[in-house]
Each structure stands twice: as structure tokens, then as C-alpha cells.
């Protein structure tokens, strides 16, 4: 870490940072447990295998079949909706909560602890609890008895996806709020003092100071949110198992159900490859747009 500081000019052609050797264990680990299985999945996607017999090569058949299936297209569309709506819901809430939590007041510290709680619960416990809350006979709706509440939450194909997105958001907003809280606390107070002297109000300070200063936190949090919701599985599986009638069967669930319920390992592998391709493209794209490869500290001179 200190290498560049102690001898900044001794080896100008070498890249900054510690030697590659230090990353070797991690790279080996990644290779063995991520790349090797991934290669296996790619090979399997060109095979037909029911999980019991012997896998046999069938060329591009599996791919044609999977790409032509309505199920896959539907899953892709649902995944798109899931990612976009999750982001639109989580990002503003997390940002506002984070900014709120960054205040030094006692009651805010107390509320922060409460907001933090969902992060500590296991997804399965959260899923089962919400399932009970949304039960049409013993859940929220019959308990409160308000007419405008839907009688069916997870059982209605028209709103099930939105309900799932809400629960997933409930679980992940605390984490992103925490990122924003840390980000806000790192903004030097002097900037705000200067702005106050210049006559900037609260709103103006938020939009002209806080938001621009948080841009790297926003990038980090957005990347985690988008890629995370693309591959999200456990809560959705516990809540709906992809139902009702496939209304929440997003790509990761589609992969699982195809593989372990329909025993079509070749098809599941093809879906997995699609998922990897979309995920990698998305992170590369985000990297490009945000320019995080050029990311450096913005605190210099502050």
C-alpha cells in the first residue's frame, strides 16, 4: 500500500498498487470456484441431460428450444421489470434515508438502528413472515379490514411482482442507506458552511452539494442494486416460488425451476449462460458510463 508513496519515481513504468502476486490466491480461488464451474455450465448448455442418465451432446438444439420458449422470453421481460422497478424504488428511498441518517441528532441515531434491522434477518425468515402478513385469510388485509387493501397480495398475478419487489426492497434499502450515510458523513462540513454563508437553502444544498459529492457512492450503490437484483433468488423463491402462474418467474428462478423441477439441466445451463452474459454486459456498461475505472478520490484539496 505504501509502496507508491515511498518510491513514487523509482519505477514509473510499473502500474500503481501492490504486485500481482498478492492477488494470486484470490485469482486462483476465483478460477477454481467461479470460472471452472462456469465453463462446465457452458459445455452443459450444448448437451441434453435430465440429471439422472448420461449427458449427450445435441449441438445448438437446447439453445434454439430455450430461446424460442415463451417461458424464457417472459422471464427476460419480468427480470427487466424487476431490475428497473427495484432500482426506481430502492435508489431514492436509500438515498433519502441515508442523508437523513447521516444527521448527528440522537433520535436519528435511534431510528438508524431500527432501519438497520432488516439487514440482520435471514431472507427465509423474512420471506415466511411476509408470506403470513400477505395471507388472504390471516394476514394484513383481513386484520385491518380496509376496503382499498387488496384481498390478494402474492396470489394475484397482476400485483405479485410489485409485492415481491417491495419486500426485496425492504430488505436491501438498509444496506444502501448505510452506504449513503457513510458517503454523506465524509463530505467536509466546511463546504456546507461556505454554502450557508453564500445563502444556499436546504434544497439547494442537497442538489448542488450533497448529490454531486455523493456521485461515487451513487455509482457503487447503483451497480450493486442493478447487478444484485438481476441475479436475486432466495426471497422471491421463498415468497412465491415463481408463481402465481409464472407471474414472478424471473430469470434466476426460471433457471432453477428448469433445472431442478423440470430436470432439464441443458436448458437450465443455457439460461444460466444468458444470465451471466447479461450480468457481465450490465456491469461493463455501468463501468463505462460511470467511468469508475478512472475513479479517484474527490477529496483532494478539500
Amino acid at each position: 500500500m505504501t509502496q507508491t508513496v515511498t518510491s513514487p519515481k523509482s519505477d514509473a513504468r510499473r502500474r500503481q498498487g501492490p504486485s500481482f502476486l498478492m492477488a494470486l490466491p484470490a485469482v486462483l480461488f476465483f478460477g477454481l470456484f467461479a470460472l471452472v464451474p462456469l465453463a462446465g455450465v457452458v459445455v452443459l448448455s450444448f448437451m441434453s441431460w435430465d440429471g439422472l442418465g448420461t449427458p449427450s451432446f445435441n449441438g445448438l438444439d437446447t439453445w434454439f428450444r430455450i430461446l424460442q420458449e415463451d417461458q424464457t422470453r417472459n422471464a427476460l421481460w419480468l427480470t427487466f421489470l424487476f431490475v428497473v422497478i427495484s432500482y426506481v424504488f430502492q435508489a431514492p428511498v436509500a438515498l433519502l434515508l441515508g442523508v437523513f441518517m447521516a444527521g448527528q441528532q440522537k433520535y436519528r441515531a435511534f431510528l438508524s438502528v431500527l432501519y438497520f434491522l432488516p439487514l440482520l434477518f435471514s431472507s427465509v425468515a423474512v420471506g415466511i413472515t411476509f408470506q403470513t402478513l400477505f395471507s388472504p385469510n390471516y394476514g394484513l388485509s383481513p386484520a385491518l379490514g380496509w376496503d382499498w387493501l387488496p384481498a390478494q397480495w402474492l396470489g394475484d398475478p397482476n400485483i405479485a411482482l410489485l409485492v415481491v419487489i417491495f419486500v426485496v426492497g425492504w430488505c436491501f434499502v438498509p444496506f444502501h442507506s448505510l452506504l449513503y450515510q457513510a458517503g454523506v458523513r465524509q463530505i467536509p462540513a466546511t463546504i456546507y458552511e461556505a454554502a450557508t454563508i453564500d445563502g444556499a437553502g436546504r434544497m439547494r444544498q442537497f442538489f448542488s452539494l450533497t448529490l454531486p459529492q455523493l456521485r461515487y457512492t451513487i455509482i457503487t450503490s447503483s451497480t450493486l442494486m442493478l447487478v444484485g437484483s438481476l441475479t436475486y433468488f432466495d426471497l422471491v423463491f421463498v415468497l412465491t416460488q415463481g408463481g402465481p402462474a409464472g407471474a414472478t418467474r424471473i430469470l434466476p428462478l426460471d433457471m432453477y425451476i428448469t433445472g431442478f423441477r423440470e430436470y432439464d439441466m441443458g436448458g437450465a445451463s443455457a439460461i444460466a449462460v444468458i444470465l451471466v452474459a447479461v450480468g457481465v454486459t450490465l456491469s461493463l456498461l455501468l463501468n463505462k458510463i460511470s467511468g469508475s475505472s478512472r475513479m479517484e478520490s474527490d477529496k483532494a484539496g478539500a
Partner: protein
């Protein structure tokens, strides 16, 4: 040693340790290694199976013990195939027979035990035993109670609404509006779990067209799903859903939380079509209702004009043990000895009866009469022994890869997304 080398050595040893830990995990499961193993489920009568194997272990010589592991139903179904496929299966493979067992046999994953089962075959009801027979050879033996689907009742609801329990399908159609008007749900159905709705489809199809209709599906006849009886059954299910036969929110009711049984026990619903295992669930979860006179049970209503024999029942004949072909010879021997020497011993039979589960045996009439749940057990015993045909649940009877599409299309029927004709078309497409 400076800080950098220290960090590097540290990281490397952490990585090495993790690798060791991970690779160590790989060796633990499955049938290879020392001693026989068995996987069972949680809940219902399964703790009895576990304690019975425990008793076997207590008296067995060293090395002849059977290690038991319990899994939740869905988790079991997803795992067992992977371990069987990879040759790591437990020695005793529990299954529901049907399409799964047929595939195990075709892939030579289970051994033929026709000549090893001893006098067990003569003790078991033939209609149940036959499920473990594939192409004339025995590959599985029943290992717990019979599980027919029966109609449970809340008599209080009928009394308060002033209607009689329907015995025929025409009467069902009569009482639905009457129960509705009195403010009750006629039938509780856990549509969110889908599989309870399959019992409706199975019974209605059987009553309308007889056992041959579904046999044609199992035999893989072209267009077998388009049979008029299946279409009629699907129409009736959609009619029930539309006309208030089920709870308005039935597609959100979940069976794994026993919500469907609760609706019956708490007097919201008049009837519930469910497996016989729900009898012990109701006793465990709603003891007050279970002990009251309101709790009753009967057969699925007859269809006046139907071709099916009204004595026919559907459900799961039982769970079965098969012996893994990938296990070592010693392990297979232990498993077979367990089946011939220990299975359905007096203590296990008594425990099973005490739970309200009926072992499929023909030599336990006395035990049934003296059992605590004699009324239900006698009812179940008569159902099973008088049944002309005991139809295995369709999701188990069809080939494993067809099971999930069947449930998905049935779910679409329940929410009204597809018509019976579209259901038949989609399922016919799966036959190829």
C-alpha cells in the same frame, strides 16, 4: 519479516485452509463410505420412521447401523435426484413410485428385490404393493401409511346453514349457493400450493371417465390429455372457482402453513379435500376442533352420470423404500435386512396407527379396532380395501419432467389464465 510478506503469507494460508475446508465438505454426503444411509422427510408420521430406524440401530451389530437424515418435502425432491444421478444416493431411496421409480429402474439406479422381500408381500394390500412393481419385478416396498385424499367436514357449518352433506355431484351444486348465502365458504382449497387442486382434478376426472382416462396419459397415448373427462373436470374446477365454490382468495392460501385446514377448523369453510395426513395435522394444530363432534370425513361425492366407479380413490398409496444400486454390497444387505426383518414391526405399526395413519397391511384388523383413532382408521381401511382403483397422484405418476409443467398449467387454470382446451394442448405437447 516485513508487513508485505506477512500479509501475503497470511492470505495464502487462509486461502489454502478454505480450500481444504471446502473439499472436505464434498466427501460427507451420499451412500459411499461406512454404513448404510436413508433419507426421509420431516413432519407428519416421519418422526416415527426415524425412531423406528433408531430402534433397528440399537439392536444392530456394529457396521449394520443406518444413518437417517430428514428433509423438508420440496428440498428432498430437489436433492434426491441429484444424488441418485451422481451415484451418491443413500442406500435406502425413499420415493413415491410412479414415473420417478420407473426412471430409476430404467437408469439401473435401484436394485431388483423381488426375491428378497420375504413374506412382506403377502402382508401388504395388493393395490398398494403393485405400485412398487415395474415390469413384473419389485423395486420398491411401502414403508408407511396409505394416503388417500378424503373429504373432511365441519358439521357445525352444515348445521348452521341448515344443509345436508352432499353425497353426489348434483347435491354439491345445490349446496354451494346455500352455504354461500349463509356466509360460509363451501370448499377450502390451498390453491397457492396448487397440488391440493390436483386432487380435485384427479377425482373429477376419475368420476367422469373412470381410471382408463388417466391410464392413457401414463401410457403416452397421443392426445390423451384432450379426453372429454379431463376437459370436463377442468371446467368444473373453473366453475367452482368462479361461482364461489372455493374461498374468493383461494389462490393465495398456502398448504404448507396449514391455512386450508385452519379455514375448516375455524368454521369458515364447510369442507376440505385433502390427503389423509391432514387428519393428524388437524389433531396436532386444532385439537379442540378435532375432538369435537363437528369434525367429520367422508368420500368424494359420486357423479350420477359418470362412468367412474365411485369406490375409486386417489392419493398416494404410500411412500416406498428402494435400494440403491450404487451402494456397496454390505450396505445393500443391511437395507434388505431392515426391510425384511424390521419394517412394519409391531411397535412401528402401533406408532403409525396412533398418529391416525393406516399401514397398508391386511393383518392388523384388531390393532385398528383398538386404536385411538379407530373411526378414521376404519374409514380409511374400508376406502382402501374396497377401492376398485387407487390412483397414484398424477404429479408422481407422470414422467418426472412432465410433473412441473402439469402443476404450472393447473395453476393457470386456477387463476383463469387459460381454458381447459389450452391446458390439454399444452400438456399434449409435453408428451413427446
Amino acid at each position: 519479516m516485513n508487513t508485505r510478506t506477512l500479509t501475503r503469507t497470511g492470505a495464502a494460508s487462509v486461502a489454502a485452509a478454505s480450500l481444504l475446508a471446502l473439499s472436505a465438505c464434498g466427501g460427507s454426503g451420499g451412500g459411499s463410505g461406512d454404513g448404510a444411509g436413508a433419507w426421509i422427510l420431516t413432519g407428519g408420521g416421519w418422526p416415527n420412521v426415524e425412531s423406528d430406524i433408531q430402534r433397528w440401530n440399537d439392536q444392530a451389530e456394529d457396521g449394520r447401523q443406518i444413518a437417517v437424515e430428514s428433509f423438508e418435502n420440496d428440498a428432498f425432491k430437489e436433492r434426491i435426484r441429484t444424488v441418485v444421478g451422481s451415484g451418491e444416493a443413500p442406500t435406502l431411496i425413499m420415493n413415491w413410485t410412479g414415473g420417478t421409480l420407473a426412471e430409476y429402474v430404467a437408469e439401473e439406479r435401484v436394485v431388483d428385490i423381488t426375491d428378497e422381500v420375504g413374506d412382506l408381500e403377502s402382508r401388504v394390500h395388493e393395490s398398494v404393493w403393485n405400485n412398487g412393481v415395474v415390469d413384473g419385478s419389485t423395486y420398491g416396498v411401502p414403508m408407511n401409511g396409505v394416503q388417500p385424499a378424503v373429504m373432511y367436514l365441519n358439521q357445525d357449518v352444515f348445521d348452521e346453514a341448515g344443509v345436508e352433506v352432499p353425497q353426489t355431484w348434483a347435491e354439491v351444486k345445490e349446496v354451494i349457493p346455500q352455504l354461500r348465502d349463509a356466509g360460509y365458504t363451501p370448499f377450502s382449497l390451498a390453491g397457492g400450493s396448487v397440488w391440493p387442486a390436483l386432487m380435485w382434478l384427479q377425482y373429477l376426472t376419475d368420476r367422469h371417465g373412470g381410471a382408463e382416462v388417466f391410464q392413457a396419459v401414463v401410457d403416452g397415448e397421443e392426445g390423451a390429455w384432450s379426453d372429454e373427462s379431463i376437459l370436463w373436470a377442468l371446467e368444473e374446477i373453473q366453475w367452482l372457482a368462479d361461482e364461489g365454490g372455493f374461498d374468493e382468495t383461494f389462490t393465495g392460501v398456502d398448504a404448507s402453513q396449514n391455512e386450508d385446514a385452519r379455514l375448516l377448523a375455524e368454521g369458515e369453510a364447510a369442507m376440505l379435500l385433502q390427503g389423509s395426513w391432514v387428519y393428524s395435522t388437524i389433531h396436532a394444530d386444532f385439537p379442540e376442533f378435532a375432538q369435537s363432534d363437528a369434525f367429520g370425513f367422508t368420500e368424494f361425492p359420486a357423479l350420477e352420470s359418470g362412468e367412474g366407479d365411485p369406490s375409486n380413490i386417489t392419493g398416494n398409496p404410500a411412500n416406498f423404500w428402494s435400494v440403491s444400486a450404487d451402494a456397496s454390497e454390505e450396505e445393500q444387505e443391511v437395507a434388505v435386512d431392515y426391510i425384511t426383518e424390521h419394517l412394519y414391526n409391531d411397535e412401528y405399526v402401533q406408532d403409525t396407527l396412533d398418529d391416525g395413519n393406516l399401514p397398508p397391511l391386511n393383518d392388523i384388523d384388531e390393532e385398528i379396532e383398538s386404536a385411538e383413532n379407530a373411526d378414521f382408521l376404519t374409514f380409511a381401511d374400508e376406502l382402501v380395501s374396497e377401492a376398485d382403483n387407487f390412483q397414484l397422484s398424477w404429479d408422481q405418476a407422470v414422467a418426472p419432467e412432465v410433473s412441473q409443467p402439469l402443476m404450472e398449467n393447473l395453476e393457470k387454470i386456477l387463476v383463469g389464465e387459460i381454458t381447459p382446451e389450452e391446458f390439454a394442448e399444452a400438456m399434449n405437447g409435453q408428451q413427446g
